[in-house]
Chain length 382, copies 2
């Protein structure tokens, strides 16, 4: 099967390169911007690719919702299988693309959009056919994991590790999507859609790592905790789906603590299978390309979809997930949260809350920040 590649950036170069040695696959044309056609395999006309009957599949690795969405629809309508690494696209338009792919009888696969080289969505889609997926989670953003790991191992402050991550190419010039938790949130949205037929687009909660300081790290490390930015999803007791991202304090020995540097770890809990944990590199040219190629090989074996025909957009419900939190805030505002213990020093309070819902916690902190308060918080997992 000849595969056209849309985009020739970091991942596109990897996908095109791997196609040369993949069983049953063949390098097709690569779409680049007009004026960038400096090699024979590069073209700037999508129409030429879609009209080429020898092209069986299109791999989109440009990123961003547009023009990727327009190109995806055009490719599917032209009868081409469609594979993407683009989590923004699938989070925003996945349900629509799933419907179109099924109408057109083509594949719509996006392993690389969640966990990079970690074979998460593919296995989740297979497992859900026979098992009940009780919960989902893990560490799905390598940039923030690298930063938290460096802060904790080297005692560095946030601004320093961010600068390091940017110098090493782990963080982009504008790191907002990573450090705010939005990138990780998009990935757990996709995993929920695969596992539960619900792509949550409302009611989502994401707290990133932007407010963590070296003093916070020193404080909770002295109490035996390691911090990771963790995604959580699952079925709530009333049948809804929860999906959120927040920093979590873990005890040494948790599987999350063995995720070092920029690695990713994805986890699902099956009622029958039990806990399945998958680790690997979550980003980078070759790891990401390897996931795109696995999807393409899957198409050759008959794999067509990750979302079921029933998959629809809807709202997440984070009111039923309850746990205790570690919070650092101005001492004068410590009374705003239900505390089980409070330490105050130099105008700062550090408290452990009573168990409270994820929704209540994120909303309380939003209200405190609206008053101008500097707040860091993290869930506590014993």
């Amino acid at each position: 099967m000849k595969v056209a590649v849309l985009g020739y950036g970091t991942v596109g170069v990897g996908v095109y390169g791997m196609l040369a040695n993949a069983a049953g696959l063949e390098q097709g044309p690569v779409l680049v911007r007009p004026g960038k056609e400096n090699e024979p395999f590069k073209v700037s006309s999508l129409a030429a690719i879609l009209e080429d009957p020898t092209v069986g599949a299109v791999a989109e690795v440009m990123g961003g919702v547009e023009p990727a969405f327009t190109y995806a629809c055009a490719a599917m309508r032209a009868g081409k299988h469609f594979v993407t690494s683009n989590k923004a696209l699938v989070a925003a338009k996945g349900v629509e693309l799933n419907r179109l792919a099924r109408e057109q009888g083509v594949a719509f696969l996006f392993s690389a959009a969640c966990g990079g080289a970690v074979p998460f969505l593919h296995n989740l889609a297979l497992a859900r056919e026979s098992d009940t997926i009780l919960s989902l989670g893990g560490i799905l953003n390598g940039t923030t994991n690298y930063m938290l790991d460096a802060m904790q191992r080297l005692g560095l402050d946030y601004a320093d590790v961010l600068a390091d991550a940017q110098r090493l190419g782990y963080a982009e010039a504008d790191p907002t999507a990573d450090v705010s938790g939005l990138d990780a949130l998009r990935k757990i949205m996709l995993a929920c859609a695969v596992a539960y037929d619900l792509l949550p687009t409302e009611g989502l909660l994401n707290e990133g790592i932007e407010s963590i300081t070296a003093a916070d790290v020193a404080h909770f490390q002295a109490r035996g905790y390691t911090c990771r930015l963790v995604v959580s999803g699952g079925r709530s007791a009333d049948g809804g789906v929860y999906a959120y991202v927040e920093p979590v304090l873990l005890r040494a020995g948790s599987p999350e603590c063995s995720v070092l540097e920029n690695y990713n770890m994805a986890r699902y809990e099956g009622q029958c299978a039990g806990s399945i944990v998958l680790m690997g590199q979550g980003a980078g040219r070759w790891p990401t390309a390897s996931a795109v190629l696995r999807d393409l090989s899957g198409i050759l074996r008959g794999e067509r979809s990750m979302f079921s025909a029933a998959c629809a957009e809807g709202a997440a419900d984070n009111g039923g997930s309850v746990h205790g939190y570690y919070v650092r805030l101005p001492a004068a505002l410590a009374g705003a949260l239900p505390a089980e213990s409070v330490e105050k020093e130099g105008g700062i309070a550090r408290l452990i809350t009573a168990p409270m819902s994820v929704k209540a916690m994120h909303e309380a902190v939003k209200a405190l920040r609206a008053q101008g308060a500097a707040v860091f918080f993290a869930a506590i997992k014993e």
Copy 2:
């Protein structure tokens, strides 16, 4: 697709149970011994199952090479897809069954035979289509992992943890296949066949955990090491395939050290994907059944094989894998091995060898044991 189940022991009950709720699958007849047909779905005639045109696939979960092999051939010849959890069967007859399945145009899948619920072989088979698999490994025997973990965490001796493992159902009455490393060896044989088209049946080396003592554990724990029974496979520099099982001493922080109790961990290193680590329960009714069911769901999507058409039996070559070893042996025999350091006390020597090949080490210890010497050894991985 209606699925017949051969065997109604621990795993058979799980497979039959899961079929009731699996998308696109249906409970078929279950083969039991004559006289055991105490429920309507149980039958004692294989012929009746194979002549039933509504049965699309057969799941074999009896264990042992015969009669499983005869039944597998009969099922394939009757045009039924064949799925098994039986590692002894696939290690002994996998190449022949792969050929027959391809002739008959039916599926031959066996995820559950290697790693239980861990989705290892399936992902390896997909990854090798586009990536070069540099090495394979992990902890693929839950019984010995439980035993080693208990010895190290609780300071117990071998006989005590074996008795505990038997009481908990983790070890069988005759634990030889587990504690000798043979069970783990069969699993790495299958993984090599998937990754390299070579099912190694000669030249294999396996050292189990039968000779480890509480004194050994205390000695290497004091030096910062944790012991795990680790499988290793890969391409050697000259293009051969290595495959062996041996105890390995690891530093805290190695991913293997986070594998506790009876969990399994499988790993492959792809040239593009990098290191992919998969963890889950390696045995038990529901975890094993979940892997059988994933294979059956895979058949519905078009998955047909884990071994390529080129897969053949051959010899492993363990002469090119070189590392240092920790060895405990009678002090009088310490000169038999190339030592970098030796400690002697009470007639016992504990030494660290110079780097030597896996083949040379296993053969040297075999010769020492032939002289009646009690020897424990483990590879050292820094």
